[in-house]
């Protein structure tokens, strides 16, 4: 039985530029790159060889170099992010991305939710002011790197949308349906695109 200490002792440390193997034997995983049919390391870290999933088209194992130090989070397409709405306009809302997945970001990124990306149905009849208000916290998915100014975000899925919002009276609202939230102080409902909380 391999103890953690034995595993650590057997770990192979790689630095950028080290030759890991031939591209015919391995798929280049994270922390590596291929050049002239050879796989080289591009990061400093521990080498890992991950066997191909059974049934996968390519049966070569993939070779990766994993860093020990964590880097600040950066949004990538497909990530679920937490953002705070900064501005709501007729056809889009802009938000400051605060967390990527479970990790807070080291510096602020700007995201845009366009009218057609707010929900999945009746996308041309979306009223932006009935979906978001400035100050709302939303959970969204990163669609793409967007334009020069901001990432494109989407709240079109059921579990995406407003997670937390303050009412005009100043209390944190409770969600009642996917379209409305209610203020506990005044019992007034306000329209939002609400995220379905499990």
């Amino acid at each position: 039985m391999k103890t953690k200490a034995m595993e650590d002792a057997a770990a192979i440390y790689r630095t950028p530029g080290e030759l890991l193997g031939s591209a015919f034997d391995y798929i280049a995983g994270t922390g590596t790159y291929t050049f002239q049919n050879k796989v080289y390391a591009s990061l400093v870290g521990v080498q890992h060889i991950v066997e191909a999933r059974s049934g996968a088209a390519d049966l070569r194992p993939s070779i990766e170099v994993r860093r020990e130090k964590q880097r600040g989070a950066i949004p990538q397409p497909g990530d679920i992010v937490t953002a705070k709405i900064a501005k709501v306009q007729a056809r889009m809302a802009s938000a400051d991305i605060v967390c990527v997945g479970q990790r807070a970001v080291k510096e602020k990124f700007t995201g845009t939710v366009r009218q057609q990306d707010v929900r999945a149905t009746e996308i041309d009849k979306v009223d932006m002011h009935a979906s978001f208000r400035p100050g709302d916290i939303i959970r969204a998915e990163v669609l793409s790197l967007g334009d020069a100014r901001a990432y494109y975000l989407s709240t079109a899925k059921n579990e995406l949308g407003v997670v937390s919002a303050m009412s005009v009276a100043g209390a944190t609202m409770v969600p009642i349906s996917w379209q409305e939230m209610q203020c506990p102080l005044t019992n007034q409902t306000e329209p939002r695109k609400v995220a379905k909380v499990e």
């Binding site: 630095t15 790159y33 050049f35 400093v44 602020k108």
Partner: protein
């Protein structure tokens, strides 16, 4: 002036092909994404990397790759005579450019489009070979920051005085009026990334001096790899201890 004694020793007691003592440390600046100090004898520099981060000046943003920026500054106390201005002068601007271009050729910039990578190098003590120490420190800082690179960059300088090729000149030897060849290499890929020379040298001697500098750079690279692996080993074992 005699740079080599009759016994074949240089002013600081080294042999002609001997490099100065190297020392490097990683992760020295708290808030930087990556940082390193690099010492070659009495030359000491510190490099910090901030990035990848959002481009600060939108007009400079590159669609397909990362924007690499670099600033080189010298501390007022870094040279024998106190310097009034540590950055913005022509020499600093030129060295900033050289470091930027050398590191840019190593970074896999297409993996980080529309982002900015800032490299800041601060010279604490200048005793010859500052350019090389800065490049080595920057490469270590980039590796410490987890920025993907095709290879490390290692740099060293060599000269020619009293009819002998000399490796890793210090300030006094550098001021001797002889040629000074600085080379930056990708050690594993065996390619030259930076080559600079001042003064003049006949071609056959140039090849000898270049070869000497390249050997020095490769030896530096071995030391750098050792330090990086050692640093990873410490991080891994720290993590291991926390598990129990």
């Amino acid at each position: 002036m005699e740079y080599i004694s009759p016994e074949g020793l240089r002013l600081d007691g080294r042999r002609p092909m001997e490099m100065r003592q190297l020392h490097a440390e990683l992760g020295v600046i708290a808030k930087a994404d990556g940082s390193a100090t690099f010492e070659m004898g009495n030359t000491k520099v510190v490099a910090a990397v901030y990035g990848p981060r959002e481009v600060q000046n939108r007009s400079q943003q590159l669609q397909e790759q990362a924007l690499v920026r670099c600033e080189y500054s010298m501390a007022t106390f870094s040279t024998g005579e106190r310097r009034k201005r540590g950055k913005g002068d022509r020499r600093s601007t030129e060295i900033s450019l050289v470091i930027r271009q050398t590191m840019e050729s190593a970074i896999l910039t297409h993996l980080l489009p529309r982002s900015q990578i800032d490299i800041f190098v601060q010279v604490l003590q200048a005793d010859g070979g500052t350019r090389s120490a800065c490049i080595n420190a920057a490469a270590l800082a980039l590796a410490d920051a987890g920025i993907p690179m095709r290879d490390l960059v290692a740099s060293c300088a060599a000269g020619f005085l009293n009819n002998t090729p000399l490796l890793d000149l210090n300030y006094t030897e550098d001021s001797g009026g002889g040629p000074d060849v600085t080379v930056g290499v990708f050690p594993k890929l065996d390619k030259i990334s930076l080559l600079q020379m001042d003064s003049k040298l006949p071609i056959d001697l140039f090849e000898k001096v270049l070869e000497l500098a390249t050997e020095g750079a490769k030896a530096t690279a071995e030391y750098m790899r050792e330090r990086l692996s050692e640093n990873t080993r410490q991080l891994v074992s720290a993590r291991g201890l926390l598990r129990f």
